[in-house]
């Protein structure tokens, strides 16, 4: 991609994010009280991260079967409340092992 175009993209991304963080700190001095709005904002990260993870995780590796293996390992370990790093590395290891094994079949 052309560097200038990429730079414009990055600046728009950074500008939008900064405005969201800056405006309340500069303009307002009170907290949000509406239970609906608070709940809405509470659920957003979960909905967003889930939508970003599934189904894209199924083609995150070069082969479908390795992606499935990594996905399964990640779900099991995450449910067991393992740390971010443990879950991520175990999923990588699962992909690596399965992709190396496929070579033998």
């Amino acid at each position: 991609m052309n560097g200038t175009r990429l730079l414009i993209y990055i600046l728009v991304m950074a500008g939008t994010t900064y405005l969201i963080r800056m405006l309340p700190l500069v303009l307002f001095r009170r907290e949000i009280k509406s239970p609906f709005l608070k709940s809405f904002l509470y659920y957003i990260p979960f909905a967003c991260l889930a939508a970003m993870t599934f189904p894209e995780i199924l083609w995150s590796a070069d082969t479908r079967i390795a992606s499935f293996a990594g996905f399964a390992v990640a779900v099991i370990l995450a449910f067991r409340k393992k740390s971010l790093l443990t879950v991520a590395l175990a999923a990588c290891a699962a992909v690596l092992v399965v992709e190396r094994l496929i070579v033998f079949f």
């Binding site: 800056m22 309340p24 608070k38 990260p45 979960f46």
Partner: protein, 250 residues
């Protein structure tokens, strides 16, 4: 004169404490951002640009979704909207921090502090008894370099490592996302339903004819707003949402 000295010492102490509390955050950031740099390298984005993005945006989910839009050649409007929706929770956090600050706090310290409103820095700032911007600045002074250096390192290694290793690392970020959303989903049924519904709806956007023509960024926006909106309507979250938000997400 004496009171100015006292103020300066208070500021320095706050800054130092913030920096100390920021160290574990910086380490975690390095790992997540490393995965970001690597994923960006796979998509053909150079290490310099991933590091710049990380330094300027300081948001995990937002950056990943943004890179998806950029790589797919989406419009600037789509990009800005994705950021607005995904990072909307920072609005709530900034409101909450603003209410905690002394009303006498000037505009300039607020402007600098605003950049550091992330889930984790918000969490430690909100837990502070007497919050000053200097505490948050201290946390930023280690967390921002950690986040930036992670993207740079991941980006450089992403260019060097052989393809089979990169294929394995591609799943890392999704693993981290799952590690963020699944533990709370186990405790809170509403969160579990939100996670399942969002995944199912995104799958619908991926595999249904017509719907699959909606670009990735917009699909994420539609899914996020719809699912969170319905969940908030049916099941308002009882506790202080802003506090918990800071602990569960990255």
């Amino acid at each position: 004169m004496k009171s100015t000295e006292k103020t300066n010492k208070r500021r320095a102490d706050d800054f130092r404490q913030g920096a100390r509390d920021g160290i574990p955050i910086a380490l975690g950031y390095f790992a997540v951002s490393f995965a970001f740099g690597m994923a960006a390298a796979r998509d053909g984005i150079g290490a310099f640009y991933s590091a710049l993005t990380s330094f300027l945006c300081l948001s995990s989910a937002g950056q990943f979704a943004g890179m998806d839009v950029i790589v797919a050649g989406g419009s600037l409007i789509e990009l800005a909207l994705t950021q607005l929706v995904i990072n909307l929770r920072y609005l709530l956090m900034s409101f909450s921090l603003s209410a905690k600050l002394s009303p006498k706090t000037g505009i300039a310290p607020r402007l600098v502090m605003a950049h550091g409103v992330t889930d984790e820095i918000f969490a430690i700032s909100a837990a502070r008894q007497d919050l000053t911007p200097y505490y948050t600045w201290g946390a930023m002074s280690v967390a921002v370099p950690g986040w930036t250096a992670g993207a740079l390192t991941g980006g450089i290694l992403g260019d060097i490592l052989p393809a089979f290793l990169l294929s394995a690392f591609g799943i890392a970020i999704y693993g981290m996302f799952l590690a963020i959303i699944l533990p709370p989903a186990r405790e809170d049924r509403a969160v579990l339903l939100v996670v399942l519904a969002a995944g199912a709806m995104r799958a619908l956007f991926t595999w249904t004819p017509v719907l699959d023509r909606v670009s990735g960024g917009f699909a994420i926006i539609i899914v996020t707003v719809t699912v969170s909106g319905i969940a908030a309507f049916l099941h308002p979250h009882a506790e202080d949402a802003s506090q918990e938000n800071g602990e569960v997400s990255s």
